[in-house]
Every structure is written in C-alpha cells, then in structure tokens.
Amino acid sequence: MSKEFNKRKLWRDLQQALLIALLAAAVGLAVNSQLLWRVLSGRTLNAVPATVDGPAETTLPLPVELAEVRELQGSTTLFIDARSRTAFAEGHLPAARSLPRGEEVAGVGALQAEVPLSTPLIVYCSGYDCNDSFVLAEGLIAAGYRQVRIFEGGFPEWRDAGLPVEGAQP
C-alpha cells in the first residue's frame, strides 16, 4: 500500500513538474515572441535596417529560409560560400563569393577592403550538418558587418530545389 502511495505521489509530482515547465515556457514564449517569430518564420529581412550605422543589433547571425534567399538573388545582398574552394568550383549559388572556413582571417580582411560593412551578407555551406557558415558568420559580425544571416539549407537545398547553379556541374 505504501509502495502504491509512493507511486501515486511520484506521478503527481511529475505532472506538477510538467505543468510548471509548460507555464514557464509559455512565459518565455511571450517574452521572446518577437525574436522567435522572426527566427522561426525565417522573416528576418528587416531585423537590422540597412541604413543604420553603428554596431550590429545582435552578435549572432539570424537564419534565413530558401524562399527569401531566392528573392534576394540579384539584390545588394552578397552571398558568401563557406565551403572549400574545390566544392565552390564544382558549383555554387549565382554571384556567390568563396570564403572558405580556415581562410577567414585573410578572407575577411580582403572582404572588408572591398565590401562596405553595411552590405547585407548571407553565409552558407553544405547544409544542416555543416557548422562552417555559423562560425564564419560570427567572424563577419565580429569584423563589423551588421547584417549577417545564415542560409542553413546551404548549397544542397538550393541545388535540390532545381535553382540555377554557377560553376562546373557534373
């Protein structure tokens, strides 16, 4: 009977713990609703106004979805390919610039000399398992670029959507 009582008590505690977690998460959702909505919907275009001078609004690159990446093709946004030079040569997003992870010290310096810090940048690499775009984007923000975002689907998502690719394709 005592065992049964303890079991019931544990079950009740678990239910209460779950309820507390849900309530706390709801508060977090309400407090951070704007940021989370921007991030989860991929609508981060106006997160940092292009005309604003000064430091970046955030120290972390926000994500951008394929649909928006498509819309931004041909705009002032510069696409940065964080993959190796070999992968870049085999195929990349139209008008993308190669800046491989591992060459970022010299690469970011060269970029700063040519590209104004107010230019919106989208960094990509080899898709969801690739962390290079995230690390490079952090470096670009640290270098002073104010609008840096990550296209997490990267080259594979772009290619698999049947969108135009530059460079030698098999």
Partner: protein, 142 residues
C-alpha cells in the same frame, strides 16, 4: 526531521535554487548569446537553438524560484534533475565528438571557457544536491 537532516534539506534546496535562478537569469537577459551557446553544441537545427534559448531560461528560473521559496519542492527538484540530465547527455556528446566549446552554462557568449569535462563534474554535483533535496523533502513530507 532531525536538525542535521533539516540543515541538509534547506542548505541543498537553497543552493540549488540560487544556482538555477542565476543560470536562468543570465541566459534570459541575453537570449541571442545563449542561442549561440546552444548552437555550438551542434545538436539542433539552427532555428531550434533560438527556441531552446528563449524558453529554457524561464524553466530554470521557475524551478529555482520555487526551490528558494520552498514551494512545490519535489516537482521543482524533478525539473532540475530532468534538465540536468539533458545537460549531462549533451556534454557527453560534446566530449565524444571532440568539440572544444564553452559549455555556456552560466555565462552565454561570455569571455570565459568552461570545458565539457569541468561542466560534467559540476553537473554531477548538482545532481547530488537534487538527490539530497529530494530524499530530505520525501522524509519531511512522508
């Protein structure tokens, strides 16, 4: 409840509560930096890192406040132990994958660097505190 057990109970409860209040507060104050710390673990899709960063600090804060106030202690301890268990699994995966990242446990995006090994040791201590609080609370109520 003997005085020693009572001291153990209140000591571990207050320490655990203060730890989680502090951890939750510093993360809640800089969600974007904490999202970066979560992203460093390379466990979730990039966007989900922001969701975790937006919600987790408030769960930590709630559990910490309840422990400090001495309310719903057993459910709060279960929450703390559950979160700590997840942190331990994540830290083990960091060690197994050979990642050299800051654990992001208390100072997301900060200058300091707490290795996964050190963070695991600290989490083991937190788990011990949770166990002590749980059993003392059990005797106290039972």
């Amino acid at each position: 409840m003997t005085s020693l057990r009572s001291m153990l109970y209140h000591g571990s409860r207050l320490l655990l509560g203060a730890l989680f209040c502090y951890a939750g507060l510093v993360k809640a104050l800089d969600v974007v930096a904490f999202a970066g710390s979560v992203a460093n673990y390379q466990l979730l899709p990039y966007q989900l890192n922001f969701l975790v960063a937006g919600l987790l600090p408030y769960v930590e804060l709630a559990a910490g406040l309840l422990l400090l106030a001495g309310l719903q202690v057993r459910p709060a301890v279960l929450l703390v132990a559950g979160m700590n268990g997840v942190f331990i699994v994540a830290l083990f995966s960091v060690i197994l994958r050979g990642l050299d990242i800051d654990c992001g446990c208390f100072r997301p995006g900060g200058e300091g660097h707490t290795s996964a090994q050190l963070a695991l040791l600290r989490d083991a201590g937190i788990m011990l505190l949770a166990l002590v609080t749980w059993f003392c609370a059990d005797r106290r109520n039972g």
